[in-house]
Symmetry: C2
Subunit: 584 residues, 2 copies
């Protein structure tokens, strides 16, 4: 299969297509048609069930437009950039690192410094892919990937479309901790739109400017919370550790269970736990486990605050694409918001019994500090207090030295009122650490479609088929009358309504011959079809046909809902259907 | 109840709160906490079921960022404005029409022309509500309510956050019609974020800058499609027609069934059909039907293209707020995109049998036109062709007159090659009309909460309770051990897991005494609570308590899932529970 085959099928069958085609289309924006929107919703529901309900985490729903201070704190305003080079001839914008990766042997060009990127462009005589003009000598600039807008009249309140759903959780941590009654650990999930103003979107649903993320932020106490590894201990992981990427020629994986990965120290225990959950989830929605791996971030890729990070990757047309990231983010996000805002981003952890601790305090003699330091006296007093908390030994000599605004001041120790007291503490403030599985829903949908796309042969004819899992297939069952006459159409329409009322995505189709209708549903990915014929009018049985095997069995109409339910839930396989139903 | 009571409860219990509080909050943006996000999701699911599945319409999922040409065509770029007046002293921005409505007896000030608004501000000596400065003489300006951003690097591709989800459907009509195999009628739904950069957001969830809409665009053939009124014929509507608003002192409603409203010609048949669906839906999610009405748009409010439009309105704190609009939009939206884009926004309607029609054509003698008109000859030929289609009589004389670029030209009829031929036509292009129920999800959620908020007395104590419908309540059942000891905690936690696995939103709580836990769930709106006590350990029964009546019954643990299912689906009421279960 080539990518364009799938993209063509996706458009023709209502999965997805580039938006605003009537106006020439907009690069990086896609609309999900009826089949695609339902597939996407099914994938989201499956995520909600696995990462939310089964793990006991709660979901929130935050705005997509957020104010500037949030992104000053998160660092996105400063560092959420790609390298932009503009063609001097045609004016087209390109990602400089992508040009280098495409035209040279260099990988991971994203982490190269800008001056070196400019040199590489010149050294390799790189040209504009659109018009062929030389790019050597053109400046490479940092382009911030957030979509900017303005909140309210005037331009005094910049707002940004969130680049990740996560910030909508982090920024509300003080409120969310209250809902959790300040008890760690607790997890908050969110599914929603996120945005990156890509310089050059590409690869269909893989790199779009507007996309849907499903993120879980699991807040844990780093000193005592550990994951319940038993729940996923035996899940087998295909791992591509950093050292194999850096030191081994070719690709070499390590296969370990979650428990082994933790015990061998290869993966951080919290990250390993969610790799297990993630593997189960991707498998359940139909991603091919032979085209799926977890790749560890290289030391250069890893954020400085992250203890460990692994990406889930899926193979598409011979290339590997990031589908998700599983990161242990330490207390980075919360401590940033704690620092930049006026709120407290810690939780108060009560001790089982109060502890008596020594605390060093100061009580500076302001009648000395005032005349001595004038307007800076307050700052000097604050500096003394901070110093007492951090370094008692500094108060052992006759004078104490503190630095205020880059200038050193010496104060007689006797004027500082330094003392060590015993105080009873009932608990302490803990800054939680964050474990974050961050999943791209569109990429999951895309991988599911790519891995489901198959061409085989049926009765001598080539057949295109989407072998979607029944759990996520947007249409679960097609219902056909042999012809729309003699009451067969009515019976089939009634059956369609009944199946819908019983909770199945059912579709009715009476156009063209039966073979053509089967092909249509095969291409849409409908797992089962039911045909109403003349016998149905007499004996109330119908033909049930399975998409993948093209096998058919005759079943009573009345038994259909229970039977389809069993097939959907995996309680029975189609091969079982000739045998009597299993006892309840 | 005052609004602030509900807002306080909403924040405390995890329904909703203003976003980014750590940074001082952002006006017009709200975050749904765990309870609110689930309530909202339940409301959306109920909408999807009623307006989508039950009506046979399909859902799509389009981007929230859309390119400028879409909004040039839709008219939003030109006319989606509010009137802005800025305070000369403090710089605060205000909606001029709201100031007038708040400070004078004038209603619907939105439809007053700007110069008159400026005069009214001066005549009434209106002042800045923030600082008290005089606003007389300040210019009133049109402020476009779309959030603007820029797609890709540079500023050459403006994009806008969609002001309604509808445009994401309209603009893709050519593709969507293909999925419907060009058969009218068909309906497309969408639930998603929409944005209005309000000058001064207010009233909590009622007027926010980012909100969720659920819209259905039902495309119909105006010459032959009629709604299946029987499906909702007997639904009773509380109607507030335009004439009652304009001619009657005070408020006077008309109560009619959907069938009566259509037969009496009071409501357009398509609009009436969806008022019936809408009424059923709002009632099902718990909006109080005594605080709900349909108000017809006044002639001044009605868009020029709309044949009829009614708003669903809900009463909140004595004021009526728009919850939804039900409009017959004619072919306005599609014809605009047809005109502004290169695509065809019609469907081709096949005749049952081909029709033979006469068609007038021209075949101008270019060897005459060329020398005579030079470069304009082609335009003259085109003008002749258009004239032949429109006005055959023009070709009856010796000469024909056409206008090109404002200049009249006379051509001998014999040089035009005019002829009338018989041609066979197999069908015609039809521009569908659109019926649009447009529902604000946040306002629905808000109305549900406001109407569910009740204070009563239980055992002599005042009790706050959210009387949410079981269908939408975010937590369906609370499970408590009498105390977390002697195995009661374990049993209650097990039961919680079992109920979750059976598909119920269940919550476990062992903190505080049972009475306090009941109050907590009453305030959250949890319809049922289950208590595990010492007897439970012996006889496997538990106490089931109903929120609204505070009645309690003893039931076997094993019967609980089926029983709760019946209560949720309305198959049994709590009062039935003392009686034997109904036969299956």
């Amino acid at each position: 299969m080539s990518r364009s085959d799938l993209v063509e099928l996706a458009k023709r069958r209502g999965y997805f297509f580039q938006s605003a085609g009537a106006y020439g289309g907009v690069s990086g924006f896609y609309t999900y048609g009826p089949q695609g929107a339902t597939l996407k919703a099914n994938v989201e529901d499956a995520w909600r069930e696995r990462f939310g309900v089964q793990e006991g985490h709660r979901e929130i729903d935050a705005p997509t437009v957020m104010p500037e201070p949030v992104f000053e704190a998160s660092g996105h305003l400063d560092t959420f950039d790609d390298m932009l080079v503009e063609c001097p001839e045609c004016g087209a914008s390109h990602r400089a690192d992508h040009l280098i990766e495409d035209e040279t042997d260099i990988e991971e060009a994203e982490s190269i410094a800008i001056p070196d990127v400019e040199d590489l462009i010149a050294d390799h005589d790189l040209q504009c892919p659109d018009c062929g003009a030389e790019l050597a000598g053109e400046p490479v600039e940092e382009f911030n990937l957030m979509f900017e807008t303005s909140i309210g009249p005037g331009s005094s309140s910049p707002g940004y479309l969130r680049p990740e759903t996560a910030q909508g959780i982090f920024v509300e941590f003080p409120q969310l901790a209250e809902y959790a009654r300040n008890q760690l650990p607790f997890g908050i999930t969110q599914i929603g739109k996120a945005y990156r103003n890509e310089i050059s979107p590409r690869n269909s649903l893989v790199r779009t400017r507007e996309f849907t993320q499903a993120e879980l932020e699991h807040f844990v106490d780093p000193t005592e919370d550990v994951p319940d590894i038993d729940r996923v201990a035996d899940v087998e992981l295909t791992l591509y550790p950093a050292d194999k990427q850096e030191e081994v020629e070719g690709v070499e994986y390590v296969t370990k269970t979650v428990r082994e990965a933790v015990e061998d120290g290869l993966v951080h225990e919290w990250v390993a736990y969610y790799l297990g959950v993630g593997k189960q989830w991707y498998e359940s929605i139909g991603v091919d486990m032979d085209r799926f791996r977890f790749r560890q971030h290289l030391s250069g890729e890893l954020a400085h605050y992250a203890a460990d990070c692994w990406d889930a990757e899926g193979e598409i047309d011979g290339d590997w694409y990031e589908l998700a990231g599983f990161a242990y983010r330490s207390d980075y996000d919360l401590s940033k918001h704690d620092e930049y805002s006026d709120d407290d981003f810690t939780v108060f952890k009560q001790y089982d019994e109060p502890k008596v601790v020594e605390r060093a305090t100061v009580d500076p003699d302001m009648s000395y500090l005032g005349p001595e330091f004038g307007g800076a006296a307050g700052e000097v007093a604050d500096a003394l207090e901070t110093l007492a908390e951090r370094d008692r030994a500094a108060f052992e000599g006759d004078t104490v030295t503190v630095e205020v605004d880059g200038e050193e001041h010496e104060i007689p120790t006797e004027k500082t009122g330094f003392a060590v007291e015993e105080v009873k503490e009932t608990g302490e403030h803990v800054m939680p650490h964050v474990v974050e599985p961050s999943i791209g829903i569109d990429r999951a949908v895309y991988a599911v479609l790519v891995h489901a796309y198959e061409i085989d042969e049926v009765e001598g004819d080539e057949r295109t088929r989407l072998a979607l899992e029944p759990e996520v297939a947007p249409t679960f069952v097609g219902v056909f009358p042999l012809m729309d006459k003699d009451g067969m159409g009515e019976l089939a329409r009634e059956l369609t309504d009944d199946l819908r009322a019983a909770g199945f995505d059912a579709t009715y189709d009476d156009s063209g011959n039966i073979g053509r209708r089967y092909r249509r549903q095969d291409e849409v990915g409908t797992p089962f079809c039911v045909t109403v014929d003349y016998d149905s009018l007499e004996d109330h049985t119908v033909t049930l046909r399975e998409r993948d095997s093209t096998e058919q069995v005759r079943v009573p109409v009345a038994a259909l809902p229970d039977l389809l339910e069993d097939l959907r839930e995996g309680e029975r396989t189609f091969a079982d259907l000739d045998a009597p139903a299993p006892e309840q």
